[in-house]
């Protein structure tokens, strides 16, 4: 069986606990050499603590704007959709209570 070169995507983790980030790709005829080359291109100077290597043809690429950036309002699912400044000001006026000190949450 004649081997064929194909692209393999490489994801790397820079430090423990961090997400896997796409680093780039290598051309290889099989998984064993792909893994070796991934280490060379993205890990030869101890810059990664973990690597994922996957055949490009196994990656599902989704960039359809209708799916990922559909046009209708979705502010009810995002923090920016809940602006209560005026309501809280009115509530404080009615209750006579001061605004609490700023803290997260």
């Amino acid at each position: 069986m004649t081997p064929t070169l194909e692209p393999w995507e490489v994801f790397r983790q820079e430090r423990e606990g961090e997400p896997m980030r796409h680093g780039g790709s290598v051309m290889a005829p099989d998984a064993e050499l792909a893994a070796h080359y991934a280490r060379e291109m993205f890990g030869r100077r101890q810059e990664s603590v973990r690597l994922w290597v996957v055949r490009r043809s196994d990656v599902i690429d989704i960039d359809d704007a209708d799916l990922l950036q559909p046009p209708l309002d979705r502010s009810f699912k995002k923090p920016g959709g809940y602006v209560m400044r005026d309501k809280l000001a009115a509530a404080r006026e009615a209750s006579g209570q001061p605004k609490p000190k700023a803290r997260s949450g």
Binding site: T2, P3, R21, G23, G24, M27, A28, D61, D63
Partner: protein, 328 residues
């Protein structure tokens, strides 16, 4: 698939607008929308629709860069065997390895634009595509090796840093990795040069001689001045700075560092014009640049021939084990 959240944000959070590249629209409309997207700072990925003008411009740009990394290995690799200490041997081997790695990264970007690596090698060896002027010159001694690791890589990094926000996103991402790796090369080169500049009389003379020979090619490296508004690569935001801007930046950073160690820059006209805020310098020899990049430089043919031979010697490995369908 790239995780956009993992990248440094280039555009403000308000949603990236993705123009609708519907197939029903006529080409002229799609072209105009694409152009507006790019000119406004939008990014392009390999799977996006792009007009031929853009695709070809990016490919040409990236291919020349890839070729330069590949050919740039040759002036230095003959000195790997001759490095005078264990640490220098390690540093130089790692540097040359990085250049090969950069070639890999860049050829991969170009491959994903639709041209095979073998076709690119064929074009390089046939003289149809070019590589940067500095890699057409001989390295005469260890002093050259230090000097080019410092100043050629420095001139390259000035250009590469300005490419980190290229509209073609895979290229921009590659530039960030390359800049990070190149910064180590510059330190290695500078260390070799400073050591020699403060060393024996022979070493000092060798370093000055190397600078005398390399200054001309360095000044030519970023290319002749060209007006910003006529530059298509700037229009498409493939690159952001003009040749002159890059050259001025290189001079601003490196002239003081070269003089700091007692080296004399072989250009009596080189001076900082404080009023204009620019460096004046003797006009680089643009005829020399043209001659050299069209493969008539002192080492052009020899190095291309060396590449031809080594490619042939390893053809059997690719065919048997790696499975590259050789184009030629």
């Amino acid at each position: 698939m790239t995780d956009p959240l993992a990248l440094e944000p280039i555009l403000a959070p308000p949603e990236r607008s993705r123009p609708a590249f519907n197939e029903e629209r006529p080409h002229d409309e799609r072209f105009a929308l694409f152009e507006a997207h790019v000119v406004a700072g939008g990014k392009v990925e390999p799977t996006d629709w792009m007009p031929d003008e853009y695709r070809n411009a990016v490919l040409r740009f990236v291919e020349m860069h890839a070729n330069s990394e590949l050919m740039g290995v040759l002036p230095e690799r003959e000195w790997l065997m001759r490095a005078p200490t264990l640490r220098r041997k390690l540093a130089l081997t790692a540097k040359v390895q990085d250049e090969v790695g950069h070639a890999q990264l860049l050829y991969r970007v170009a491959e994903d634009l639709g041209k095979t690596r073998e076709a690119m090698y064929d074009d390089l060896l046939a003289g149809n595509t070019k590589f940067h002027n500095v890699f057409h010159y001989p390295t005469r001694g260890w002093a050259d090796v230090g000097l080019i690791a410092w100043l050629v890589d420095a001139a390259a990094i000035v250009a590469q840093q300005a490419l980190r926000d290229s509209s073609y996103a895979p290229y921009a991402r590659t530039m960030r990795k390359i800049c990070w790796e190149e910064s180590v090369h510059i330190m290695h080169g500078r260390d070799v040069v400073v050591t020699m500049a403060t060393g024996t009389a022979t070493q000092q003379a060798a370093i000055q001689d190397a600078l005398d020979r390399w200054w001309g090619p360095l000044m030519q490296m970023h290319g002749p001045r060209s007006p910003r508004d006529k530059d298509r690569d700037i229009h498409w935001r493939i690159k952001a700075k003009t040749s002159e801007e890059l050259r001025q930046e290189f001079l601003t950073i490196y002239v003081p560092r070269i003089r700091e160690i007692g080296l004399v820059i072989p250009d009596p006209e080189l001076r900082w014009d404080a009023e204009a805020g620019v460096w004046d310098y003797a006009e680089p020899d643009w005829a020399e640049l043209r001659t050299v990049v069209t493969n008539h430089g002192p080492m052009s043919q020899q190095r291309l021939e060396f590449r031809r031979i080594s490619r042939e010697e390893t053809r059997w490995v690719r065919e048997a084990v790696l499975g590259v369908p050789d184009a030629a």
